[in-house]
């Protein structure tokens, strides 16, 4: 997921299916209306001259209707004043605004927020970011066999094991295939995949064909090379 949460809060203005503009909310009071002196001008008859405003109170944002004729709606519910959450859909006339608040790194608005949804706690941006920072990284240690190094950190999305130039784990023995196997990173975990040249590899002495998830401490063997796979925390030496 490349949804990197580095941008400030913003609104995305949509009409029918097309995105009209994206505006960052930088001021503590962000006004919306038909008159040209608003921060977000929506030139449409159904929109009042002064329609609504978004007010920042410390780390949270509130949407207020400021006496519009046709009303302001959040997720289809008419509101007078309501706290905005990331991805809330605001309807003004026939226009839709999407509120985005991808919590920024270390800013005061980075307080973890919880939304009550049938009693379930939901992680927001900051929490997700923290858990990603704590994510463990896979290490491959060579026990025996000919490779260009003794240890490899699996930071790439896809690590190629083989003799080809793009391979990270380079096999240096004789008659080794260009791609012997690939280790992929998916969310929290890693998996190993066999190649066209090497149809079977061994994980903990068990034959694997195709794809298999890797667990902390797995022993891998392919083309005469024995490797030890383990997970390391980001702060472990």
């Amino acid at each position: 997921m490349s949804e990197v949460m580095t941008q400030g809060p913003k609104v995305i203005l949509k009409f029918n299916e097309s995105i009209l503009k994206e505006i960052e909310i930088t001021q503590p009071e962000f006004t919306i209306g038909r008159r040209p002196d608003n921060d977000l001008v929506i030139d449409h008859a159904a929109v009042s001259g002064r329609h609504a405003r978004i007010v920042q109170v410390q780390s949270v944002f509130f949407l207020e209707d400021v006496g519009s004729t046709n009303g302001t709606f959040v997720n289809d519910r008419r509101i007078d004043r309501r706290q905005l959450q990331d991805t809330d859909v605001v309807t003004i006339g026939k226009h839709r605004l999407i509120f985005r608040d991808e919590v920024t790194n270390g800013s005061p608005s980075g307080q973890p927020k919880f939304r009550d949804l049938n009693g379930t706690m939901v992680m927001t941006g900051q929490k997700l970011r923290e858990s990603r920072a704590e994510q463990k990284v896979g290490i491959v240690q060579i026990i025996s066999g000919r490779t260009d190094r003794k240890e490899y950190k699996l930071t790439k999305r896809l690590t190629i094991i083989g003799s080809q130039a793009q391979a990270t784990i380079k096999l240096t023995g004789y008659f080794v295939p260009k791609i012997a196997a690939m280790i992929g990173r998916r969310g929290e975990g890693y998996f190993i995949s066999t190649s066209e040249e090497v149809k079977t590899i061994h994980v903990n002495n068990k034959a694997v064909k195709g794809q298999a998830d890797l667990k902390d401490g797995d022993l891998l063997e392919l083309k005469g090379v024995k490797m030890y796979f383990y997970l390391k925390g980001p702060n472990q030496p």
Partner: protein, 271 residues
């Protein structure tokens, strides 16, 4: 790896214009589906530009190894994957400039889902709600997650997939190519194998056709073109709400095992 593909793009039953565009180039291993948006004919301008720019940029990169990368280079991905991202960043610039220069095209944008197959590695890049599915050994798996309001809510587990399908906001995108001065492109890299099948599609397909039914269509047909045709008919049978574009890519030569599997599936169908 040997690549074969089939593709079909259809206006659907409710729209008058087809704003989807696709590109398939087996020599490059490049497959792209774009779903344009914006009033009048601006949507198809955006999707057309995207397909052209992406194809040209990838082609030029093959001819010139020193072709500069557009946008940030991400070292955790291969040069191939970065090239695909670069092509989308470039398309974003071109469409955005065009939208600013031509008042009739203001606000136009497009989704992009793209696959670049180099040997046994599939690079993928996407923006918006056009999707890529991998079908392997009778199972279907989405390789992309939508950049739409409901898609983000599903990622955060605020909505289930079923609720998302019913949401009135399911068409509202959070990212689009050409909409802003820059775009965030989501990248992926996966190993591919002989016998794999890729399906790239616009939301016209996924509105009405569930992955389970896509899998069934794959079992029923013998070649990528027939699969693409069948999927488009299914989308229209389900209402044809939107333009539907499907690109089906089959990887590798059919092994004997594959042939037997197909015969077996055929037998299962007859029962």
């Amino acid at each position: 790896m040997k690549l074969a593909y089939g593709a079909k793009s259809d206006v659907g039953l409710k729209r008058t214009q087809n704003e989807d565009r696709f590109c398939a180039d087996p020599r490059l291993g490049l497959y792209v589906v774009c779903d344009g948006m914006g009033g009048r004919n601006a949507g198809e301008v955006a999707s057309e530009l995207a397909v052209e720019v992406i194809h040209k940029h990838v082609l030029e990169a093959v001819q010139d190894g020193n072709l500069p990368m557009v946008g940030q280079y991400d070292g955790t991905f291969s040069p191939h994957t970065n090239r695909l991202a670069s092509a989308i960043h470039l398309a974003n610039q071109v469409i955005h400039r065009e939208a600013q220069d031509q008042p009739a095209h203001a606000g136009m944008g497009t989704t992009v889902v793209s696959a670049l197959i180099a040997g046994q590695v599939l690079s993928l890049a996407h923006v918006g709600d056009s999707r890529l599915y991998l079908i392997r050994e009778g199972m279907i798996e989405p390789l992309t997650a939508d950049h739409s309001v409901v898609g983000e809510q599903v990622r955060r587990e605020l909505l289930t997939e079923e609720e998302a399908d019913r949401s009135p906001y399911r068409h509202v995108l959070t990212r689009g190519v050409g909409v802003g001065a820059t775009v965030e492109v989501e990248l992926g890299e996966v190993p591919v194998m002989n016998g794999d099948l890729l399906v790239l599609c616009s939301d016209g397909l996924t509105i009405g056709v569930k992955p389970r039914d896509m899998l069934h269509a794959v079992r029923c047909e013998w070649n990528p073109q027939a699969i693409a045709d069948r999927l488009v008919s299914m989308a229209n049978a389900a209402g044809g709400e939107d333009n539907t574009t499907v690109v089906v890519v089959s990887l590798g030569e059919e092994t004997r095992q594959g042939v037997w599997r197909r015969i077996w599936n055929q037998i299962l169908r007859w029962r």
